[in-house]
């Protein structure tokens, strides 16, 4: 009986800590998503006000949010019914990195048309992932 009670207590403790980890990851994701939104707004503002520094700062801020999405940890933060699609989220984050890198390269080379096209593609990646993962 004592053993059984100990086992039950241990399971409850484990389940609780798993839930806590998941909640931590979700909180982190929500924070990252808010930062992503801010960085996209910053890039757009830079484009509209002809400020390449602002665009580059936005790109850097965006890249700072990609670590979780790129890693295996992404499984923790996806909705339960979409966990299986974590590789899609990883691919999206890879593309976000690719386009934001290219945007900085394009700005440095003075190719603003290409930089703004990169911004368009970044936005497409965001909406594409939201359509898929959040069943939008």
């Amino acid at each position: 009986m004592k053993k059984l009670l100990s086992a039950l207590a241990l399971s409850a403790l484990l389940a609780g800590s798993m839930q806590a980890v998941e909640n931590d990851h979700r909180t982190m994701l929500m924070k990252d998503m808010r930062t992503m939104l801010e960085s996209m707004e910053q890039i757009q503002r830079g484009g509209l006000y002809s400020s390449s520094d602002e665009m580059k700062a936005g790109a850097k801020k965006l890249q700072g949010t990609l670590k979780t999405l790129e890693s295996e940890e992404v499984k923790w933060i996806l909705p339960k019914d979409q966990k299986y699609a974590y590789q899609f989220a990883q691919k999206t984050s890879k593309m976000l990195r690719l386009y934001s890198d290219d945007m900085v390269t394009s700005i440095d080379a003075g190719r603003m048309d290409d930089a703004l096209e990169d911004y368009t593609q970044l936005l497409k990646q965001c909406t594409s992932c939201h359509i898929r993962i959040r069943n939008w």
Partner: protein
């Protein structure tokens, strides 16, 4: 130039202008629209040896790039004969007719591997689009035997000109028009349907720098031959839902 010759030239030019596919003497689309003839390219293996139609494994996705160096296409030997004279419609509402597969049993088909929805395509790193064998499950459709884009779960019918069966895609995949020669070799001669090549070139410029040394190389037209390998060899990782 005498009057008879002059009239022949004018009539010929008018016919070609109305229906460009007549240049090759073949009318693939019902009215000649949505067909673009490209340089005829022989499908060869990685070593450059011409592929024999009879040697293509059933239900395996092969990849070759056509009509451009960077535009991937799927080549599939289906388990059963394709339908014939399939009426299809592009997202712009243009109607066209996909004739059928080629080969003795009309089982050989080829389609652009660029998804009509959001341009998902196989790269050297990964592929989210592929043919799913008949006995395999997919979340995109009720049965296997379909082409699935696992990005947003679009399903296409390879037996019917890649008609959309489900998901967000709004038009069929563009079809590669194939010709099987008497010696059992296979040739790509053109593209039928609404292709997404220009959108693809615009959207994936940074990727072309990584895989093709830039956009100019990526836009090079394929000539003489097109190498094909199995998708499992083309992409490091296959993702299928």
């Amino acid at each position: 130039m005498d009057r008879r010759v002059f009239l022949k030239v004018v009539a010929g030019a008018a016919a070609v202008a109305v229906s460009p596919s007549l240049i090759r003497g073949n009318l693939y689309a019902a009215d000649g629209r949505l067909y673009v003839g490209y340089e005829k390219a022989q499908i060869v293996d990685a070593a450059g040896v011409p592929i024999k139609v009879s040697a293509l494994e059933k239900e395996v996705t092969y990849i070759f790039n056509y009509p451009y160096a960077s535009t991937p296409c799927m080549l599939i030997n289906l388990p059963e004969p394709t339908q014939q004279e399939v009426a299809l419609k592009s997202e712009a509402g243009e109607e066209y007719v996909w004739k059928s597969g080629v080969g003795k049993d009309r089982t050989i088909v080829a389609y652009s591997a660029i998804c009509a929805h959001q341009l998902t395509h196989p790269t050297r790193n990964d592929s989210f689009i592929q043919y799913v064998a008949k006995n395999k499950p997919t979340m995109a459709y009720t049965t296997g035997g379909v082409i699935v884009c696992s990005s947003h779960l679009s399903a296409y019918d390879p037996k019917a000109g890649a008609k959309v069966l489900g998901g967000a895609a709004s038009q069929p995949l563009a079809a590669v028009v194939l010709e099987r020669a008497d010696d059992d070799t296979l040739w790509a001669v053109g593209v039928l349907g609404s292709d997404k090549f220009q959108d693809y070139f615009r959207a994936f410029k940074p990727e072309f720098k990584e895989f093709y040394d830039g956009i100019a190389q990526a836009k090079t037209l394929v000539s003489i031959s097109a190498k094909t390998v199995k998708l499992t060899e083309y992409s490091k990782e296959l993702i299928q839902y």
